[in-house]
Subunit: 220 residues, 2 copies
């Protein structure tokens, strides 16, 4: 790590520079997602992105600056996906099920896990100064679920007894833990079970006849 | 990795050799738990365990052989802990709560995460040939919860509607995911919420008046 060599701020780059930086990042994210941070080296990245060593060094002078940018890139993708219209801000049990179904059907779930979570787990114990970035990303992710559950309460779909923060932590933990267990087992079953059970639990707070037209929960 | 240099089988060592091997392992496990696999090198380990390079090389000729042994060591510890009398084979909701309380109060939970899970997450994408070992350990761990839930059903404490495998995957996923989120946040709250919500969900299947003398579940 060379603390003195700072990466240029993306917004100060020319549009051609921004495109090169984006191409490097895309390849770095893919290499890291597939092989992990430690097995990804400059030579692989240069070859994959079709750039020279001096270009790579210009945009990302240290591994830390590259890893930080990949975290931002993956966080942006995962948060944008969760905020997409498809999930209607998670205002129903149906949208939670749609979300779970997406990852259960995603073939890379049990091969490489969560793009952001597996990266976080790989580097959280290292000296890389990335904790603030990670904490911020996961907090925003958690808040998407929490806000959705609060919206369900306001819409009368979920009982006021439900604790949106606790349930949001259950959903995100079941997702992250299920992804790890699925990777280790080489089998999607642990993720599928964990997500279905976590959503079943949210459903126990469903108000009868509501919850996006699904069968009311056991408590309904 | 030198595939030809195999580590001596522990049972073929003299008792002094077994003691040295155990001391190396204990220090390796601690270093890896604190700093991660990649930041742990031979020199740190030699110094911590007070051994020479040739001794280390004798017991663990490759990093792979060392990491494999640390996985076995951590798995043995975690499985033994979960099988201890304290948790009475997880035959009640009370024992699940006791288990959760233990990890919520454990100060290293949000510092270094799960001793086995954080190691698995760090190396699952590497070329180290450790997947079978990890899969086996996590399957046994999952089975401890599943068997406990089945026992609760036989004892009439849990409804026959409950799916023990699904609930076991929820408990272990909430634990692993909650540990990761707690580490990232530097705060135990995500783990606490995830475990409490997962156990709340098990409780919705509790048969009224049973379940270890606790208040019956919402469905009871």
């Amino acid at each position: 790590m060379e603390a003195t060599s700072e990466a240029p701020a993306p917004q100060k780059l020319t549009s051609k520079g921004q495109a090169t930086r984006a191409r490097i990042l895309e390849h770095a994210a893919e290499l890291i997602y597939t092989h992990g941070v430690h097995a990804t080296n400059n030579e692989q990245l240069r070859r994959a992105a079709g750039i020279s060593g001096s270009q790579l060094n210009h945009y990302f002078p240290t591994k830390e600056s590259l890893v930080l940018a990949v975290i931002e890139w993956q966080a942006e993708r995962v948060l944008t996906f969760h905020r997409s219209e498809r999930f209607t801000h998670f205002d129903s049990l149906g949208s939670l099920r749609d979300w779970a179904d997406h990852y259960i059907a995603y073939e890379r779930s049990h091969q490489a896990g969560c793009s952001l979570g597996s990266l976080a787990a790989e580097i959280i114990k290292t000296d890389l100064d990335v904790r603030t970035e990670l904490a911020n990303a996961f907090q925003q992710w958690r808040n998407i679920f929490r806000d959705g559950l609060e919206r369900m309460q306001r819409l009368g779909r979920l009982s006021a007894e439900a604790d949106p923060t606790r349930l949001a932590h259950l959903l995100l933990s079941a997702f992250q833990g299920g992804m790890l267990l699925a990777q280790v087992a080489g089998d999607i079953a642990p993720l599928k079970d964990a997500l279905q059970a976590a959503i079943d639990h949210v459903r126990t707070f469903a108000v009868s006849g509501e919850a996006g037209g699904l069968v009311p929960g056991r408590a309904g």
